[in-house]
Subunit: 339 residues, 6 copies
Amino acid sequence: MSTVSNQVDAAMPTVRLIGSGLPGMPWQDRPADHPGVVWRYHDNPVIPRNPFPTANSVFNSAVVPYQNGYAGVFRCDDTQRNMQLHAGFSPDGLDWSLDPERIRFVSDDPDIGRWAFGYDPRVCWIDDRYYVTWCNGYHGPTIGMAWTTDFRTFHQRENAFLIFNRNGVLFPRRIGDDYVMLSRPSDNGHTPFGDIFLSRSPDLEHWGRHRFVMGAGSGWQSTKIGAGPVPLETSEGWLLFYHGVLTSCNGFVYSMGAALLDLDEPWNVIYRSAPYLLAPWEPYECVGDVPNVVFPCAALADADSGRIAIYYGCADTVTGLCFCRVDEVIDFLRHHSMV
Amino acid sequence: MSTVSNQVDAAMPTVRLIGSGLPGMPWQDRPADHPGVVWRYHDNPVIPRNPFPTANSVFNSAVVPYQNGYAGVFRCDDTQRNMQLHAGFSPDGLDWSLDPERIRFVSDDPDIGRWAFGYDPRVCWIDDRYYVTWCNGYHGPTIGMAWTTDFRTFHQRENAFLIFNRNGVLFPRRIGDDYVMLSRPSDNGHTPFGDIFLSRSPDLEHWGRHRFVMGAGSGWQSTKIGAGPVPLETSEGWLLFYHGVLTSCNGFVYSMGAALLDLDEPWNVIYRSAPYLLAPWEPYECVGDVPNVVFPCAALADADSGRIAIYYGCADTVTGLCFCRVDEVIDFLRHHSMV
Amino acid sequence: MSTVSNQVDAAMPTVRLIGSGLPGMPWQDRPADHPGVVWRYHDNPVIPRNPFPTANSVFNSAVVPYQNGYAGVFRCDDTQRNMQLHAGFSPDGLDWSLDPERIRFVSDDPDIGRWAFGYDPRVCWIDDRYYVTWCNGYHGPTIGMAWTTDFRTFHQRENAFLIFNRNGVLFPRRIGDDYVMLSRPSDNGHTPFGDIFLSRSPDLEHWGRHRFVMGAGSGWQSTKIGAGPVPLETSEGWLLFYHGVLTSCNGFVYSMGAALLDLDEPWNVIYRSAPYLLAPWEPYECVGDVPNVVFPCAALADADSGRIAIYYGCADTVTGLCFCRVDEVIDFLRHHSMV
Amino acid sequence: MSTVSNQVDAAMPTVRLIGSGLPGMPWQDRPADHPGVVWRYHDNPVIPRNPFPTANSVFNSAVVPYQNGYAGVFRCDDTQRNMQLHAGFSPDGLDWSLDPERIRFVSDDPDIGRWAFGYDPRVCWIDDRYYVTWCNGYHGPTIGMAWTTDFRTFHQRENAFLIFNRNGVLFPRRIGDDYVMLSRPSDNGHTPFGDIFLSRSPDLEHWGRHRFVMGAGSGWQSTKIGAGPVPLETSEGWLLFYHGVLTSCNGFVYSMGAALLDLDEPWNVIYRSAPYLLAPWEPYECVGDVPNVVFPCAALADADSGRIAIYYGCADTVTGLCFCRVDEVIDFLRHHSMV
Amino acid sequence: MSTVSNQVDAAMPTVRLIGSGLPGMPWQDRPADHPGVVWRYHDNPVIPRNPFPTANSVFNSAVVPYQNGYAGVFRCDDTQRNMQLHAGFSPDGLDWSLDPERIRFVSDDPDIGRWAFGYDPRVCWIDDRYYVTWCNGYHGPTIGMAWTTDFRTFHQRENAFLIFNRNGVLFPRRIGDDYVMLSRPSDNGHTPFGDIFLSRSPDLEHWGRHRFVMGAGSGWQSTKIGAGPVPLETSEGWLLFYHGVLTSCNGFVYSMGAALLDLDEPWNVIYRSAPYLLAPWEPYECVGDVPNVVFPCAALADADSGRIAIYYGCADTVTGLCFCRVDEVIDFLRHHSMV
Amino acid sequence: MSTVSNQVDAAMPTVRLIGSGLPGMPWQDRPADHPGVVWRYHDNPVIPRNPFPTANSVFNSAVVPYQNGYAGVFRCDDTQRNMQLHAGFSPDGLDWSLDPERIRFVSDDPDIGRWAFGYDPRVCWIDDRYYVTWCNGYHGPTIGMAWTTDFRTFHQRENAFLIFNRNGVLFPRRIGDDYVMLSRPSDNGHTPFGDIFLSRSPDLEHWGRHRFVMGAGSGWQSTKIGAGPVPLETSEGWLLFYHGVLTSCNGFVYSMGAALLDLDEPWNVIYRSAPYLLAPWEPYECVGDVPNVVFPCAALADADSGRIAIYYGCADTVTGLCFCRVDEVIDFLRHHSMV
């Protein structure tokens, strides 16, 4: 990771970025001595493990701008250690009110609507509503899907795929005529392998024309990879943050990298980070229910300034926040790509 | 398994059965002392392991009636032990001419059309053409799909699902407005688990509304199950032969059972055989490249007589043939169902 | 876990509890903002990892009231990382003098008395003496048994069971005419499964009439469970604290729950906690020789006040102490039972 | 294995042997060119795989002399591949009538009497009745026990041990004041390890004083061992035939050896065969549901002649018979012992 | 595998081949309908499993011409299923006298000379004596080495490598100034991977300059490969027969292929067979102690006629013989190479 | 571990020790209350995880005295999490300048010189130059070797052994006529076993006469062991610090012990520590990329005072320093040896 100059951003970013801003969120510039292009919020974690009495942990959090503030869907493991999804609201993205009751999806089909478990949500605005995707238990893990307009009522739709799948992430608009989703086919355990694929759909219900996007690499991403936040649209391509996993003799280590995907054919990878952008270094990332996990699930962008805020799960226990700038990230990818 | 009376069939079967007959194939009645409702052809195997010089084995064979005789798509492992698909023709279903060149699918999309491996085909007539489904290598095993009208040119389409999947079997007509397929989600190895699911599609390209049909059971089907031949339509429901796997201390044992699925909602199982119908007992089923395998892939039906002929792979090495009658099988399911 | 009111205990507990008190131990009320019914001692750990020079760690500690103070049997892994048992004494349950020499059991039978290893002890007063049970090495792990009256001389008896077994816990009195023991059959490694059974004996030497009590559940107790402290007799039933294990991609996580067993037929479970009562959250529970372990081994009760003090191992490294009240725990079980 | 002289037995055996004879069974002398001390019946298998319509296989058969002929308890896997026990009768030990209905044990305790599965039975006459022991499913495999006097009504008693255990084999009389049983502690799968232990009981219900007898060795018995038939009492000690398992790259291979145990302290092994006595060489032993299995379950002795007949399971599919003479076997053990 | 013309060999082979002939061995031409370039001896197996009383099996046999006939070193598993090496002699290569006593190597160094186990020998004439290499047990498997001039006294030398290694095969002359050996580094179990390496030595005691030669491929050789017989020198290069392993769901399948190595730099592979040359098809190759094994260990060559005879182990139980011609094999490699 | 007196060292050590001193390094005496013979530097870690921008971690560091200060070769995992070797210099052994560019070994042989990965280096002065050994990727892990005189140019030589090997450590002079190396044969993953062997060479290129030195033991060293720093020559024998590994249910734990090897026949072990000398207790040893790792790689000695400084990797993340005295260590070994 080369050092980057630590100048203030007085001007518009070079790379155009689509995003509805970071209303009310206090921005934090890169610390002067920080060598990388992603840096942590100084007061991490932003969400503790037990904001309500039945919570064991809150992490892998899908945050979106909502009504002058923020809303989100959160993975909350309860004190039974069952994996649940909860909704929450915040005026500034830091101070959160989480509903202590789990989301109860509305479904016409009792077979689909029967709740087994849910984890690792993402939220994506398309057309006129928010779509939630998550790892949904239906005789095994697959990609559940629902929509909401108010983060109070969630309408569940068909699961996107057959089991076994995880990390289903929608693109925020149709590409050509298709809805597009990234996912990571897997098995039914602690999958020791995994590549990112792309699938297309005319109706968000039937999915096909599956394409390989990118696979496990070396080093920090040698075991498996999975899409993180909903991709950010930029003038250079889709900016995708993703997680990669390395297997040490003591288990998995989850780190974060980024890739740039072609705007029109997003199964074509333009750049992909050879080094990681963020890895578990801080105590709240190294110690917890699953040691050594950094797991990004949401990226918010401010078009005017090029600022990006990323929410990420820490040690499967708490939620962290980190920052970067679109110009620096894409410049970094250009110079440190493994493609 | 109760004994069944061994009477000749003088009359129409009670259960109506859709099928285009068994032209030219010599029928063999159940041997007088045979206790079960499925019995083997007396001169098995009907296809040896090396009908042409580069063949290591021919098994898991998808046979259909074709032009007053039969055509088929065959799994032929070559002497590199690569898994290939070959076409073949026969006047009577017993004497086969197999093309020594593997099928080369025609595809407009080089990414999809790039051949890695293919195995365990099924062939299904729908509307106006034959569809072939098989386990297709595309960064991992998934369900490949192609169509043909002459068993000489095969047009490849999109893979039906993301990896990892096997045993994709189409229904022979739309149900409601949908094309319907059974499949068995799996992992990328010698999967030690597996249940049958059903998926629907408006266009044979995008698949959704996935439903659990039935899972591994006990005894002979305790490790995993997978759909076998294209289901046969009867007045009682869809008759599905399937394979089940038991894990002994020396590996997998593959046997054959049957299920009856609801005509309109085929994810509803009416009956399902608690005992197996056929298990590896004969030397050509117990000894070969994979000992102890009986693996059905095609079932041909004669509507007038209720006769059914089933092609099945033996020890992953040769192809066997066995017979049954629709009335007896459904009566057996009714009295020995685990549902 | 619902919040509980944090009132002082001015009155007798509603549930009657048998126990000989907590002499000299400073009681600590539940912190005002603590959501659960079990809370930690403010100055944990109460025993450090190396109270004597050859100690690597002291944990999974079996404490009982003894002569106006406390005595106990402790798992002390030495600096060879061999698992040993040591005796110790304390005036107040907090300040401990541990014998730096391991217990050397007296046995008439050299085959039984030959020491291989011992760990995870429990101590139980029955009739007129203290019985020690532990995981004893005899061609594999089983339940060792010995008695003492002075915690200086320990008389070893027959192992209770064949290998492989762990977590053998006696009831503190005969039930009917029988001595009764809980245990957890296992294998010879880091067993990835395990249920609690109950066995009976006329003589503490021959055991039989084994009964299933309860098995692994979901979430925090989905991999295996094992009895913790000697059960506490209450007017509602036997109060059993136990550990449950969840398998993350980075290993086992041990948490603590509780169950209420029928007084006369203790293989009948009245209540069983669906949420955990205590899970590894503190640094001394998350970091150490085995990260993420909370493992209760002894529960002391004060009949008059309903106060309970629980000793538990932390990260297989040090010993922690936590508190609860019998009324609150049983009320919690009543409202959060998975039975 | 040294060659042995092939003389006829004109005289009493040197070693005294307790046994009630082989009424009606045609004896077969050792073939002239046979190098070993155990030889097969010329018309093996003596019981085919499907003597009744619902049988998949009949093997691991526990035969005893009964009323001028023979009775037995048989492992019959049915065509569901569930493991069942069936009773049977024979005038000569070769021609068997098996009850097509499985044994339904009579039990006063519904928890114990609830049938899950049963396999690998042994039958032992003690005092005034026949005791049956088998691998019984009770939340896992353990040693089931029952008694009968007529092989029609079987009275089930308490399971002898906690799970997990297999190959429980009783001695045919008390030793000292104790009933004595051999068994093989195991896990809940296809156990890859296992030693023989001995346990004692005052009442056939409570078991204790467990002793290690002998463990896995090298070569043919390097993975695990288990007691086979009920031990035969001889003037030299208890003659125990047992099975040993070797793990090849293609799975387990089960062979048969023998040991001589001390008459009064049968946990002391006097001799133990370094070579096997019988290994899977014949097609019916090498090919079947589990290839390469020889598994002895019953040994019948004729005191006058020293003749012994051993029933053994073949490839987990059929039942074989083999013969030996007590003098030759013990002489062989004396000269080829690994003790 | 293309068909090859089945003409008689009237003339000298095109490819020059070094070899001392096949004295007394009856040659057998390729059967008229045989499609491949290697064909089996019509009366296989040539050595049964128990040519002497303590033999369980004789296979993986290293045969060389010796004094107008043949001598060899044989893997004989005894009836303890310990792996031993035995010497043997034959006038014609078909009728063998095997010494029933195992080879007892002479060694000056008791640490090296202590016998643990030995298997899979090869014999190679270099300079003035026969060198034997085998898989030797020395705190794990490595390559043992010894020499003999009379196949009665064998002088053991230093092990060639550190553990873990198997399939050490010498070249029959120095190349440059070096002795040269092929081997297959492995682990200490049923290794599921393995490539062929080459090492060099000035003195047959110290080995270095290790080079990768070729690795596992696809299909029949996808799990691991290992050198078979001592390479045959030809005018085109070193002709190496080798084994490859495929992992089916029921275990390993061993087949035989061939490669041509550069004469001067034998770590350079000129050709390598994409298809196998021989695979387990016959009952004595498919059924036995390890089903589905063809394992070549010795190749004898007749320079004048180009005839080659190959000894190979069958199912780890018996020894088979097969034939080929140097011209046909090298022509086959040229046209079916995966290099 | 017995307590040791904490006196100052006023006099020469009793045990003579070869070493070139600790120039400029501030010595730190044992803390008064420290029970063991090895104690940590008070300001550990001495090298942080990211001394230059592309570093993820710096650990397992091979330090030697060099030109009035120190030089070293360091394992630096980069932010791709690839394992690299870097050179560095320090005036005092605490303050380090690491070259941000990895070492690029000079090699005449492109096959050997092609860089795959390198880790866990050791540096050893022999005769007239520094030799570097490390775990080198060459179709698998083996022992790479190179030499340098200035720590700027490194000349790569032949790998010492075939794959799979790790922890190759040279002795600092010839013994007899031989160069001598310790190593740990392994497999190609997170090897769960491993013993230390010794090999000899006339030329540092060809290695032979391999001898077993010592194997995994019990407790802290029950899974595997490996040599640590280059052995220190003393008047009593070679003092070898080594690492041992224990497998907990949550992974490997690496600790440090010591052994004394015979001066002339260093495969003979005189003493070997039954307890560990240092185990992961401090946060920087317990938390990091691989929790619970103490891994010594370099030991520096001062002949006059008997002082020893040991560099060790901490949690595969940072580098620690600890101290001891030769008299105390050898005295400890004498009294706590498992030999």
